[in-house]
Symmetry: C2
Subunit: 71 residues, 2 copies
DNA sequence: CTCTTATGTTCGGTTTATATAACATAATGT
DNA sequence: ACATTATGTTATATAAACCGAACATAAGAG
């Protein structure tokens, strides 16, 4: 399962969803969907988001197990 | 423009396109398209590829300018 | 020479990412 | 009270990712 820190970092920099969308050339709805974890953006968009949020892709997105067996 | 080192790292570990595809749950054609740079995989697939190739997403994929002005 | 394996490539399909538009709500400012 | 702004959410549409199958080529093994 894909997780991300977009909402957290966006808030930290005081960007609105629209602000961030403009910086990375997508609509605010796309940002909203990503924050909700409803889909897995392209690596191109992910790289742009990481740049806009002054981090790297590995810190912004990661995979977590979604079964009961882990840990 | 999106660039990547998938082919280089896959060769380094001696994987075939099929091997790598199985590890990350896509077909060999998908691996071939990514190596050719013909599309931008999802961040989920990118994270799996980075793991399979024992690197991180930032080292595996990056954006390059495609205009003449870049130094 | 034949068999197998890796790769390149194309085509027709399904699924998912993304756009655009609309409507709702809550918060803020005048 | 009204206007504006940020966000949540949904619906419909298009573009792009990805699959499965097919066919071709090149290289290595027997």
């Amino acid at each position: 399962m894909l997780k991300n820190r977009v909402k957290e970092l966006r808030a930290r920099y005081g960007f609105t969803q629209s602000d961030l969308g403009k910086q990375v050339d997508v609509t605010r709805q796309t940002i909203a969907f990503i924050e909700k974890g409803e889909f897995s953006p392209s690596i191109t968009l992910s790289l742009k988001l990481a740049k806009a949020l002054q981090t790297n892709v590995n810190d912004l997105f990661w995979l977590e197990e979604d079964d009961d067996h882990e840990k």
